[in-house]
Amino acid sequence: MIDAFIALLAPWPIFYLLLGTALGIVIGAIPGLTASMLIALTLPLTFSMDASNAMTLLIGEYVGGISGGLIAATLLRMPGTPASIMTTLDGFPMAQQGRGERALGLGIAASFFGGLVSWGFLAVLSPPLANLALSFGPWEYFTLVLMALVMLASLSQGSMVKGLIAACLGMLFAMPGIDPSIGQLRLTFGFTDMTGGLSLLPVLIGTFAVSQIIKDVLSLDAPLPRVPVRGRAVVVGWRDLMRHLPNLARSSVIGTWIGILPGIGGNIAAMMAYATARQVSKTPEKFGTGHEPGVVAAETANNASIGGALIPLITMGIPGSVTEAILIGALIIHNLQPGPLLFATNPEVAYGVIASYLAANIVMVVMMLAAVSWIARVMYLPRAYLVSAILLFCVVGTFALNNRFFDVWVMLGFGVLGFCLERVKVPLGPFVIGFVLAPIAEEQFRAAMMSSAGNVLELFGRPFATSFLAVSLATLAWPFISEWRRKRVHHTRSPQ
């Protein structure tokens, strides 16, 4: 771990860390542009980089992107990223009351605190979890992937059935090409370009960047409110820290834990932390009116979820959220196998991720405190320039992958598909994670069936695999049980 921090002090890692965090903050501050989009668009630029530097850049963008969302949420009442939705509830009212600088200062400090606490969990839990994951066999991996997909599909916003359809669709799109187990060509429908299957990068850029651009262009006419930020954000003092400490600690743990659970992102973490803070508060009626604990809870949790989500990523190769699925893509592009072996075969990358996360949090807090009023002006950049630049970059970045236009057409197709899926309220998270995890799921399932000579019941002799399967089934059954209990209570309480 210490070697990883020392390695970060070299010129190029420092440069990528500063660049990534700055880019992330700026993009995160602009409504309609997300950290996921930025990371997906940056992937082509990392081809020529060392894997550790690439991950440093991307982690910086991730931390900056989630933190930057605070600015638009507070000043425009528009979340810069989905993770900042809850911040709008109290951050914007504070800005309207002339306390915008204080809201930003509290949010930045809360983000940093949440990042620090989740870094602690990441640093302490990752090595032993990776060791534990080394004992996993194919049944454990298959059921773990299944659990991740089911949880993501169930806990994504909207219908669970549509979430499951999204996951299935994503998995099916990963199937065309050469079957990795026996080299059989399948589902290419005679197209030579499909022999290698659909590449990850065009699917990611299309699904996240292009579909988001389509949404933004549709709502381009909506004017942005202007709430000025004078001077720098207020630096939170020791007294403020002590006053908010219980909320900070509680929200950090909630955020980290939500982040660890496969498939759930910063927006859910912020919602749960906000709801808990309101529940335990002596003045719950003040939430939503410019109440400081609301901003603290939301921003602490959404940043803490990053560290939590990195834990399953680097220990088991399971994405904790959609953004981690893109980070898995980065590892694959650099010929690294995500999973517990990362600590054994490429420890500089695994520990580099942990070190970069802490460093990015430190850089984030310094940058945001120093430059928040300048960053706020970026939100008002004309969309004509931003959107056209992003579209061009999507095309060039995708083409650069394999120097073929087939990938660009795939990107455009998935951009349209992603937009259409969201319009019918099919979540994109399960779709992308299904696409990313399908090869792992199939490989592990077939290996498990071969090792057990087709006897599925052997799964039940393995405690971890059985537990993962039980959690999957419980997650699937919970909405029905919950509905049944609700109807039963309603029936009991209603008059005869």
């Binding site: 630029l45 081809f47 020529s48 219908s159 059935v161 549509k162 499951l164 359809i165 299935c168 669709l169 998995m171 099916l172 199937m175 079957d179 187990s181 026996i182 059989q184 399948r186 589902l187 429908f189 389509i214 262009v217 549709l218 709502s219 381009l220 006419d221 004309p382 969309r383 004509a384 320039y385 959107v387 056209s388 630049a389 579209l391 061009l392 970059f393 095309v395 060039v396 083409f399 650069a400 120097n403 236009f405 660009v408 057409w409 455009l412 349209v416 319009r423 019918v424 099919v426 799921a441 199939e442 399932f445 077939r446 069936m449 071969m450 000579a453 087709g454």
Partner: protein
């Protein structure tokens, strides 16, 4: 999107849900058809076709559930019609992107001139036709296309058309 039609009673028929379910079932059918000529498993209990078919079958079942729920669920009130400006803008941008990619794929025009035209026209579609802004768009288009070309070819050693 409403993606539906008023049924005469002031509420919408969820045609969007039905269309979605139908498309998903069609996709599942396509997968089933596409895996029909795959050989049976020889050295393992599960062959190449097993997982795609299993997922396709599950997906079709879920799509049927979506359709049944849409039929039996509450009808939503009719939404007020929206402006056409947004969809028109998206359609124009889509056409520009397709044209840009086709022109480069045909290799009649190189990346730099194609990107300059694409950027300029895209900025006009998004920002409007005000003469004062056009100069800005032109400078932006030239600068970004030249800059991006230099970055990819000189820094990353990636050839562009």
């Amino acid at each position: 999107m409403a993606a539906s039609m008023e049924d005469g009673g002031g509420t919408v028929v969820p045609w969007g849900e039905y269309a979605f379910a139908l498309l998903v079932i069609a996709a599942a059918g396509l997968v089933w058809f596409g895996t029909a000529d795959l050989p049976p498993p020889r050295y393992e209990p599960v062959g190449s076709a097993a997982l795609p078919r299993g997922i396709a079958a599950l997906m079709a079942l879920l799509a049927i559930i979506v359709a049944v729920r849409a039929r039996s669920g509450p009808r939503l009130p009719v939404e007020a019609g929206g402006s056409l400006a947004g969809p028109l803008r998206v359609a124009l941008l889509g056409a520009l992107m397709v044209a840009f990619v086709m022109v480069m794929e045909a290799r009649h025009v190189g990346f730099r001139p194609a990107a300059m035209v694409f950027l300029f026209l895209t900025a006009v579609v998004l920002g409007g036709l005000a003469p004062r802004r056009m100069a800005g768009y032109a400078v932006f288009a030239v600068a970004l296309s030249l800059g991006l070309h230099a970055v990819f070819t000189r820094l990353f050693y990636i050839d562009l058309p």
